[in-house]
């Protein structure tokens, strides 16, 4: 008899969610994590002494309410929501703030365009309805197309409510909007650049496309569906940083009886008679299990943990063709004081600065920033997504000091000019120069900085090509096509081998849903 019912490779948040669910259901679970800490890309690290920094995933993520409830996480971790969904300083010294409250936001928008202010509530209503439909797909196991089963049809029933609320007349809107460029969608509703930029930037925050590319309206909706704010992005921080969330997940999993080992690097999955029977660690140690689950990305799972020659040619080719394409750098700054944004001069800035801050004054700006990546260059005028988590959770930094974490786009994985190591500081300079145009004191308050380029994210956090989502979360890599059609149901061609990471449906974003869905399928198979 195998030592464990299930071995999970990788203690990223999805691996931990799967572990928690399986242990909760009474399975004997072992989680093996290569690094010395759990969390994967959802970690808090003391990059600068005294500063606890959410190195990769940030904010409060998009953790599913269902997962939070079922794993009883509220008792273990606290999130601090922010009223501000996006603070958007403009080049002319003005600013637009998107609040959770629609009316309050409409008043802000009116300073830029009266027409846009009138459109905004209608836009939010339509997008929320459509996002509900998209959201309904998230917790579903994608159907086995084209051999759709009765069970798949019944699962689809979860969509009936959202579709009814959307209304028959607006189904064509849904079908039209999904493959659209977000820029086209926003141009239909809004005339002010600031408004379009504020909303549309989120459509490309996590992918390597510009807002003028087809399918970015879908990515906006996908973000909308999981945000928890009722708007296009999540807003808030986890108290103690992202690591506190994954720490809580680990505690929950352990509480249900799962065993978690860090510093345990799995070198391969043992396959006997076409069945996964256990794992071998790089130390040579072996463990057996009835099922093995990989929290790693698909390419690592199928090429490294398993062997590519286990699989059909088409399968391998499809895995090879998964678009990863990371294009964001993470830059962390230690600050001796808050940055002073010109747009907030003379008032109390802390309210606006405690949520996400976006440097994306127009969609053209973002598109131009993206264009560089096509030629293997980093953006000279980057689109920046900033967070000062210390305003919501001062415990993250020494008293009076702050953390400013930046997602800086675009920084393509492969630079035409050569190795990133020779260019990462100059890109960081570009980022800080850009920031200085909005917050001129920034250079004076930086006490330390840490730059993670896509290759750094790959080597340090196991994110191939630096893509935080184990593969682009674009429309053609969504649902039954994620990561590839033949393993979109968390199972793989190797019996007893599963995937549970962000590479699986519905993707990344610290939702915990891939892990939740994978656990459900594993339990179905092991009944």
């Amino acid at each position: 008899m195998a030592q464990y019912d299930v071995i999970i490779i990788g203690a990223g948040h999805n691996g931990l969610v799967t572990a928690a669910y399986l242990a909760q259901a009474g399975r004997r679970v072992l989680v093996l994590e290569k690094r010395d800490t759990v969390g994967g890309a959802a970690v808090s690290e003391e990059i600068f002494p005294g500063f606890k920094i959410s190195s990769v995933a940030d904010g409060c993520g998009y953790l599913s309410a269902k997962v939070r409830r079922e794993l009883k996480l509220d008792a273990r971790v606290e999130t601090v929501p922010s009223d501000v969904v996006a603070f958007c300083p403009q080049p002319d010294g003005t600013q637009l703030t998107i609040w959770r409250d629609t009316q309050r936001t409409a008043e802000e928008i009116a300073r830029f365009s009266k027409a846009d202010a009138e459109e905004y509530p209608k836009f939010v209503e339509l997008m929320s309805r459509i996002a509900d439909v998209v959201g309904g797909l998230m917790e579903m196991t994608p159907p086995d197309l084209p051999e759709i089963s009765l069970r798949d049809l019944l699962n689809g029933a979860a969509l009936l409510g959202p579709v009814r609320r959307l209304g028959r007349k607006r189904i064509p809107d849904l079908l039209r909007i999904l493959p659209m460029p977000s820029a086209d969608l926003l141009n239909e509703f809004f005339e002010a650049d600031a408004v379009r930029g504020a909303i549309g930037a989120s459509s490309v925050l996590n992918i390597t496309w510009g807002p003028q590319e087809n399918g970015t309206a879908y990515t906006l909706l996908s973000s909308w569906a999981q945000s928890g704010t009722g708007l296009f992005r999540s807003a808030g921080v986890v108290k103690g940083g992202m690591g506190a969330l994954t720490g809580a997940l680990a505690d929950a999993a352990r509480g249900f009886g799962a065993e978690i080992r860090t510093g345990a690097s799995v070198s391969e999955v043992i396959v006997a008679d076409e069945r996964a029977t256990g794992v071998r660690l790089s130390s040579g140690e072996e463990h057996t299990a009835a099922a093995v689950v990989s929290n790693a990305d698909p390419r690592t799972t199928f090429y490294e943990l398993l062997e590519p020659h286990y699989f059909d040619t088409l399968f391998v080719r499809q895995v090879e063709n998964i678009k990863y394409r990371g294009s964001a750098a993470r830059i962390h700054l230690a600050l001796s004081a808050l940055p002073e944004f010109t747009a907030l001069a003379g008032g109390d800035a802390t309210a606006q600065l405690s949520g996400p801050i976006q440097i994306a004054p127009s969609l053209d700006y973002v598109q131009k920033a993206f264009d560089c990546t096509k030629y293997g260059e980093y953006s000279r005028y980057p689109y920046l997504d900033l967070l000062i988590p210390t305003l919501s959770d001062p415990s993250l930094a020494p008293a009076g000091q702050h953390i400013l974490s930046i997602t800086a786009k675009y920084a393509p994985y492969e630079l035409d000019a050569g190795d990133w190591s020779a260019h990462k500081q100059s890109f960081a300079d570009v980022v800080i120069d850009t920031l200085a145009e909005y917050a001129p004191n920034i250079r004076d308050v930086i006490t330390d900085r840490h730059v993670l380029t896509p290759p750094d994210l790959e080597s340090l956090y196991g994110l191939p090509e630096g893509n935080p989502n184990h593969g682009e979360m674009t429309l053609e890599q969504f649902f039954h096509m994620r990561p590839i059609p033949s393993c979109a149901r968390y199972r793989t061609p190797i019996a007893g081998m599963y995937i549970c990471g962000a590479g699986a449906h519905p993707g990344g974003g610290v939702t915990g849903i891939p892990g939740h869905n994978a656990a459900r399928e594993i339990l179905k198979d092991s009944k």
């Binding site: 020659h309 040619t313 090879e320």
Partner: protein, 398 residues
Amino acid sequence: MLKPTPFHSRTGPLCQGHSWANWAGFLAATTYEPDHLHEYNAVRTGSGLFDVSPLFKYDIRGRDALATVNRVAVRDLSKSRIGQVYYSVWCDDKGMVIDDGTISQLGEDHFRITAAIPTLAWLQDNAIGLEVTIEDVSEQFAGVALQGPTSRDMLQSLTDVDLSSLRFFRCTDGKVAGAPALISRTGYTGDLGYEIFVGPDDAESLWDAMMEAGGKFQMLPAGLATLDLVRIEGGLLGIDADFTSALQTMFPVQKLSVYDLGLGWMIKANKSFFVGRDALRREKASGSRYDTVGLELDVTVLEKVYAEYGMPLHLPYTSWNSAVPVFSDEPQKHHIGRGTSGMWSPVLKKYIVMARVKPEYAKLGNLIWIEDVVESHSYSIPARVVKMPFYDPPWKKA
């Protein structure tokens, strides 16, 4: 524009009728003399010298070279040793045959695959994630096939390699006529024979040495017309004759599985994963559409048909490669398959046909009917299912 092979300066003047064919983009002689018969007889009684340079050749090197070829090939190469050559087909994920060729192990982590159609992309696709390099070496080597009962003695006169110890489907490095060469005891004739590959710069001197030595061994240069005859006698499949590559068919119905082509013997039940394995397992359990068999036609019936028109018996002295209907009975004519290649075999004195029929009709000795057209009238000629290869001389493997 067709390209000359490295032997062209020699084969060109020899090709009396300028009867060139297109073989993979190269000029290849159909016959050297106006008629192929001397060349055919040379292969069966002396030796034939074929220019086989147009074959596609790929080198697979690296730590995962064996894993790569064993993933691609239907046959199990896991016990391959240096100097061993395998004949294998490879197929797609659904077990449908893409091509056939030889796979030679040239070094610890070095294999060479020969193929009839361009195969680089397929090999690269199957090497994704594996530690190998794949190189198209097709034009780095000029190749001749020296085939026939005198080929060993003749080649021995040109090399120090002890050919008596080079067994069937083995290969070795050695010098031939002073040039470094790969000598492979393989061929496409069903006879004793060798394939010799040298660098293009040594091609002309190799050809000259062969022609000079050949006189004593009843050797003649031979072209594709002969090659197609002797490969049918040898029971060897021809691409675009007996099957179409699964990568090149227009419709799924035209794809043929390993079993359809009568090559089920290549599949070892306990072989680790190879491309198409799972589909072939399912096919084995549920049954195949076809089997491939040899047919021997009753020429006395054919003779009577010709007699009805006051004509003497006419036989296919060159091979035909077309889909000819095969029936289970007469006169109802229930269609059960097709003949794919046929010929009058001078050495066997028999009209032989390679055919693809429903498996239940594939039993040896079974009587079936095959269509022949005489004076534009269609007739069914009785034929027996016979063993392949049709021609299998004892010296082939000796």
